[in-house]
Every structure is written in C-alpha cells, then in structure tokens.
C-alpha cells in the first residue's frame, strides 16, 4: 500500500511543479517526477511481498510466490522513454534560453491567439 501512496504522491508533486512553477527547468523536473511516480506505480502492481523471480524450473516455487514480470518489463521501457522525453525537453530548454534569454514560461508566449 505504501508504494501506491508514495507513487501517487510523487505524481501529485510532479503535477504541482508542472502547473505552478514558472521556471521551465523546474517544469521539466516536474515532468520527470511524474514519470517516476507512474513508473513506481506500475511496478508496484506486480509486486508481491517476499516474492521472487518467476523461474518455473526452480522446484517448489508456486506462482503465488512469483513477482509479475510483465510490469517490470514495461517499466524498463517506460524509463527509457521517459529519459528520451526529458532529453528532448532539456535540449528545447537550452534552445529557448538561447533565443529568449529567460527561463520564465510566462515570458515565452510569442505564439498566441
């Protein structure tokens, strides 16, 4: 249960950062935190206390003792994707800073209406 709560808290903290912080680097960090939260949530679905790897050739290991491997595989992929998105985001932040000389998202709104 604690995992779920932590994960959801992480997501909320991240959302808070994204929605209220004016600095775009902080926004990107917020996105990363949301990502981590989602990943944590995802992996805790398959988690079983004192569970072990699902190796069927091990004698005496019943499926209810096995950790679900699928979320782990998913999370691995999701982490990689999250990394990619963060990298793109940060490179855009660099570009934005080059052009606007500011990191305040309220000042970067030339495209509107």
């Amino acid at each position: 249960m604690i995992y779920y709560i932590t994960a959801i808290l992480l997501i909320l903290i991240g959302m808070y950062a994204v929605l209220t912080k004016k600095n775009i680097i902080k926004i990107v960090i917020g996105l990363s935190i949301v990502d981590s939260g989602v990943n944590l949530l995802l992996i805790s679905i398959g988690y079983i206390k004192n569970g072990t790897a699902p190796i069927f050739s091990v004698k005496g290991l019943t499926p209810d003792k096995m950790v679900d491997p699928v979320p782990q595989a998913l999370v691995l992929t999701a982490i990689v994707i999250g990394l990619g998105v963060t990298a793109v985001a940060l490179s855009l932040v660099i570009r934005l800073y080059d052009h606007h000389k500011t990191l305040n998202i309220d000042k970067i709104r030339k495209l509107k209406w």
Partner: protein
C-alpha cells in the same frame, strides 16, 4: 514474395537508424532512402490490402501466441489507414525533396521515418503497451520536428507540444497500468473479451484517462493548446504530417478503444459534444488569424472536431462518414499545407497579408491552394463535399439535428476565411518582387498527386466508399475483433 505487416514498422525504423550513417557518405542517399522505403511500403500495403479484406492478418511476434506475446492486427481498417499514411508520406517525401534544404537533412528524414514507423505502429499493433511505445516514438519525433527550424518560435511551440504531450503519455500509461491491474493482460482483443468482468468504476476511470490522453493528441478542445503552435511552427510538410498522419493515428486509437473496450453510450455522447465545441471554437479562432499556417492549424482542429462528431454519433453509417472525412482531411489538409509552404516561401513572410497577388506570380501553387480551400469547404465536385454530406446525413439520422446546424454554421465561417485568403491570392495587386524563384517540379508533382486524388474521389466517391465499408465494419464489430485478434 511473402509480405508481412511487420515491415511497416521494421523497415522505416531500420531506415531511421540507417540514415545518419549513410549521411556521412552521401546526402543524396539520405534523401532517396525515405522515398524508397515509402514506395516499398506502399507496395506492401497495396498487396496486403486484398488479403486483409478477406480476413484480418494477425502477425505473431517472436512466437508467443496472443494473448501473451505482442501481435499485430492488420484488418481492413488498418489496411485503409496504413495505405493512406503511406500515400501521404510518399507525397510529403516528394515535396520535401526540394523543399527541405536546410541542414541537418539526415535528422529531418530520420525523424520523418520515425513518425511513419510510430504512426503505422499505433494503427496496426494489437498490444496496448506496444501502442504506448509507438505513441512515444511518434511524439518524440514530432516534438523534434516541430523545433526543426531551430528558430525562436519553433522551440517555443515544441516545448508546449512536449509539455502537453507528456500529459498525454502519462495518462495513457496510467490507463494501461489500470487495465493490466484489472484484467491481467495487455492484448487489446483479450482485454476486450475480459472488459465485461471489470466493475464500472475502474472502467470509467480508465476511460477518462484514455479520453484525455488521446484527446490531447486528437486536438479536442480544451486539450488542444499545443496544436496551433506546433502546426504553424513546424516546417510546412510537417504540418501535413501532423494533420494527415500523427493526429489520425491517435484518433484511430481513441476510436478503437471506444468501440472495443468501452461501449458506453455516454462516452460517445461526450465525444460528440466535445467534437462540436472543438469545431466551433477552432473555426471561430481561425477567422481572424494573421498567419496562414496558423489559420490552417485551426482549420485542422475544426476538421478534427467534425470527425469526432461523426464518430460520436457511433452508428455504422456515421463511422463510415467519419473515416471518409479522415481520409479526405488527410489529403486536403496536406495539400493545403504543402501549397502554403511554397506560398510562404515565395512571399517571404508567414503573414496572410503578404500573399497579395501571388496568384499571378505563382499560378500553379496558388491554384492548388485554391483547390484545396474549395475542397475543404465542401464544395462539389471535390472530395470534401461527399464526406461532409455523409457526415450530415448520418448525424441527422442519429437524431442530432442541432449538431447538423452547428456543422453548417461552422462551414460558413470556414468558407469565409478560406475565401478571404483565396481572394487575396488572385484579386490583389502583386506586391512580391519574386520572379526568380519557382516552385520546383517535385513540389508541384506532390501537390498535383493530391489534387488529382481530391478530384478523383470527388467524381467517383463510391470507389473509396467501397474501401471504407469494411474498414468501418472492422472498427464497429467488437466480436470479430476479439475473435480474430485472439486467433480463434
């Protein structure tokens, strides 16, 4: 030769990795590779089409039978959409051949290939997590393409797109997670079969997450803040890619899930209402835009609203109409973006007011723009007329007369702002001094192909309707999807 739907994903992905390497040796090869890939894939799509029409092709990856492994589902709908994507992709490649002259070329084509791979991946995959991966491939490539021109506005637009796009992927991933927690499977057909056993509460929760996640990518109001910026700041052919490929892929996903996973009447109603709001606000916003590409972007959003209305009615006929509009909008909006690309290039400004009199100076490009404008307004004998007619009749038959009136009202607004631009092209004094630069042949051929498609479909609409019928059936028929998807 034995083709398989895997090629649609594998070949462009491979090409995307090949391009930077080849780019070290030859720039020409970089330009040619995407064309060859798309030609090959168009050939594959067309040769797989009749097979998919008989029975959906379910491709099993790495020997794990569904519901365990990842499988690809290439039914009539996927065949229809993939063929459309390949056609649009090919045209855009042809156009880009001379249009994209700015380095780094290999990055442009690499990202372009990734978009193609990602979008087709979304359309043919039978696995929701796999779909997440493709969604992200498409999105990341799309963010980067938005900022491709390295200018001030491009970066701003790309950042907004990324910010909102991240929300989309987060919600989608949460939804995937909840589905897995509730059904224990990731195969869409299997989920569909098991969805009945899921209690209503989590089901609604998942549905809302999907709706918002895909709503962002499908440009539904109020989730579409990124769209006008991204469309207008990306290189012009990429505007076509967004309107014709990226958005259509997520619309496909939304509709597939809506029909197969959730059969809530209220969900369709919500989509219908959102569609109406999206359409109205977008068309009204387009009215006084100063920049042509931004205007096209809003018009694109408006058209998506129209498509959503038709989907939202949810009957067989309206789904057909929506798919017809999906196709027409992809073709017409791509033509408009391509033509606008050269108009902007020739006038040297993104402003609509800079287009005065270009019709005399650049007659063919302007003609294509005018044709596209007439087609998207829905005038006969162009293709847009028939899809709009189908949408209206099916919406009316579904009993939503108020929506019919609103669609027509927004149609009038659309006509006004498009005709203003066309009027400027032809009936103002020529202000540009540009007599040297001509639109290159490759660009004209690309636009010509789309124009011919528009006219052909406008004159022989039943040919495309014959293809849409099985596609719409594929979308609506949940039982068949489960049956074929699970290889029963």
């Amino acid at each position: 030769m034995n083709f398989s739907p895997v090629h649609f994903i594998a070949v462009p992905l491979f090409a995307a990795f090949l391009i930077p390497i080849v780019g070290r040796f030859s720039k020409e090869a970089v330009k040619l590779i995407p064309g060859l890939v798309l030609l090959y894939l168009s050939y594959v799509a067309i040769s797989l089409y009749p097979i998919a029409l008989q029975k959906p092709i379910v491709e099993i990856i790495a020997g794990f039978k569904p519901p365990f492994g990842i499988s690809l589902y290439f039914g009539p709908l996927a065949a229809f959409l993939v063929t459309m994507v390949m056609l649009i992709g090919l045209v855009i490649w042809l156009y880009s051949y001379k249009f994209i002259i700015r380095e780094p070329l290999e990055k442009y084509y690499m990202l372009f290939m990734l978009v193609i791979a990602g979008a087709t991946g979304i359309m043919i995959t039978g696995d929701i997590f796999n779909m997440f991966v493709f969604l992200e491939i498409t999105s990341i490539a799309a963010y980067s393409l938005t900022a491709f021109l390295r200018d001030k506005d491009g970066a701003e637009a790309a950042f907004k797109y990324l910010l909102i796009g991240s929300f989309s992927s987060t919600f989608y991933l949460l939804a995937v997670m909840l589905i897995y927690a509730n059904t224990g499977t990731l195969n869409i057909a299997d989920i569909a079969a098991k969805m009945q056993t899921v209690p209503n509460q989590p089901k609604i929760f998942i549905m809302i997450l999907f709706l918002v996640g895909f709503g962002i990518e499908s440009e539904l109001f109020p989730l579409n803040g990124w769209a006008p910026d991204a469309y207008s700041q990306a290189p012009s052919p990429i505007g076509g890619v967004f309107g014709g490929i990226v958005v259509k892929a997520s619309t496909y996903a939304m509709m597939r899930f809506a029909f197969v996973l959730f059969n809530f009447h209220s969900m369709f109603e919500l989509i219908l209402v959102l569609g109406v709001i999206t359409m109205l606000i977008a068309e009204m916003s387009a009215m006084r835009q100063q920049q042509i590409k931004r205007m096209l972007a809003f018009s694109s959003i408006g058209q998506m609203g129209l498509i959503m209305i038709a989907f939202g009615v949810g009957t067989d006929a309206s789904v057909r109409a929506a798919l017809f509009q999906v196709f027409n909008h992809a073709v017409i909006k791509t033509l408009l973006f391509l033509a606008a690309g050269y108009l902007v290039f020739h006038s040297g400004s993104k402003k609509i007011s800079a287009l005065d009199g270009l019709g005399h100076n650049k007659p063919i490009t302007s003609f294509f723009f005018a044709l596209g404008a007439l087609a998207i307004i829905g005038l006969p004998p162009f293709s847009g007329f028939w899809s709009k007619l189908y949408i209206l009749t099916s919406v009316a038959k579904g009993g939503f007369l108020a929506s019919v009136v609103l669609i027509l009202f927004s149609g009038i607004i659309e006509a006004i702002y498009y005709l203003r631009v066309v009027g400027r092209l032809y009936f103002k004094k020529d202000v540009s001094q540009d007599n040297v630069r001509r639109t290159p042949i490759s660009g004209l051929v690309a636009m010509g192909i789309l124009a011919v498609v528009i006219l052909y479909v406008g004159l022989y609409p039943h040919q495309i309707i014959d293809l849409i019928k099985p596609a719409a059936h594929d979308l609506v028929d949940k039982a068949a999807y489960i049956k074929y998807g699970l290889l029963h």
